[in-house]
Symmetry: none
Subunit: 220 residues, 2 copies
DNA sequence: AACATAAATTAGCCTTGTCTAAAATATATA
DNA sequence: TATATATTTTAGACAAGGCTAATTTATGTT
């Protein structure tokens, strides 16, 4: 059984390793709002429990056991986010903090029942994949919107680092997961993009925001 | 903001005071699976926070603020139990432990959304009333014992017309307000009922007496 | 009244998880 | 290569919340 703090550290490591990056003590601390010295202690503890490999002064890697545990947490987090948005009517920018608490409730029966109740969703409201009960995630052909060519037709698949201000901005511009756009123009001087949708007004996005949006190919 | 342990103690006090009984340190400890000495410390802490009145060596009472906080916990607990049973298909005997965890999730928006999602239920799967967002509890779901079915588990809530001889009779049979029984058998020919309690001997009541007793559903 | 017993409290210790400050290590630069 | 800097780890302190053991208070009995 893991404590809440252990779970938080495990999830932070998993999140940092996600993008192919490596997980450093200071990054974990920053992500959790604690100090590096505290993280060191927890890393040792999780290593002793066989959840990760921690070579002092070098990086951290997840063991198979740690990977499994981390994926269970991710699964719970994203299932709860889905529940909050789809059933309780939360905005997609209001769910993170609450899901952060709900994910620590430990009951396999609860998790699996919720999964079934929601119809085994494979992606959460932010477009991130939900691991199934065996830890399998559905993979997709996604890339940053910023790298798309003019004329490409794409579906918004996910938000890379979903911060509240960013989600709110997207909400204001009427951009959400699952929506389909055509890249209509790119400003050479600042890299901003103009998107067209089938109906409704076009939207202009800064290069910075476009780099945060992950898209998948969409049929015309 | 209350810690989880503070919430647990507050709820224990509230539960003990429910039946008109008084809350003693050792009872709280027993209920929480801790030691009396630990409880004493927490009682002092909650008293300092203005949630209860604790006269050392005498009892504990809830302040208005404490009552409000306790009712919010009860509300969350029972709403989650309802959700688990009605939506996720849990058995009524499987929900307590999970609801015990879920009730500590702090988000008013979550609680109120859940309440609305469930259609503002007024009683949980055990028949216990669910306080509304202002702490109001629905007048209880009471009915004459005489109309109960064999197998029902009920708490004695009131005596309809309390005459001295009747009260004396009940006293002799060891029956009082707040006690919980299971209706174990009904004699067809005269309508008399046999009641079983958790410990101790069974009691047989005439149909006349059973008509005088008002009961409410009780959890096992 | 005096004493025995039960319950509550206090005192002191332990574990967990955090912190700060100091020491150790790795890395970049002159 | 030597050294400056950034990062990590270690050492020691502290608060929360639990425990045991000893003390205090209330209550019941002779």
């Amino acid at each position: 059984m893991l404590t809440r703090s252990e779970e938080d550290h495990l999830k932070a490591v998993h999140a940092l390793l996600q993008d192919g990056a490596s997980a450093f003590t200071k990054d974990i601390a920053e992500r959790l709002g604690t100090k590096a010295s505290s993280v060191t202690v927890m890393l040792k503890k999780l290593t002793d429990k066989g959840l990760l490999k921690h070579e002092p002064y070098y990086g951290v890697k997840l063991t198979g056991k740690g990977q499994t545990a981390a994926l269970r947490l991710v699964r719970k987090h994203r299932l709860w986010e889905t529940f909050l948005v789809e059933r309780l009517g939360f905005g997609w920018d209001e769910v993170h903090e609450v899901a952060e608490q709900l994910e620590h409730v430990s009951s396999d029966k609860l998790t699996d029942s919720l999964d079934e109740y929601l119809g085994h969703p494979r992606f959460d409201p932010h477009g991130d994949p939900i691991p199934d009960r065996n830890g399998k995630v559905q993979s997709r052909n996604i890339k940053p919107l910023a790298g798309c060519l003019v004329g490409e037709r794409v579906r918004i698949a996910a938000v890379k680092d979903p911060s509240d201000p960013l989600l709110q901005l997207l909400d204001e511009k009427g951009i959400g997961i699952g929506m389909v756009f055509e890249v209509h123009a790119r400003q050479a001087f600042d890299g901003s993009l103009e998107l067209r949708r089938k109906q409704g007004p076009p939207s202009t996005l800064s290069a910075l925001v476009a780099a945060q949006l992950l898209v998948e190919p969409a049929r015309p």
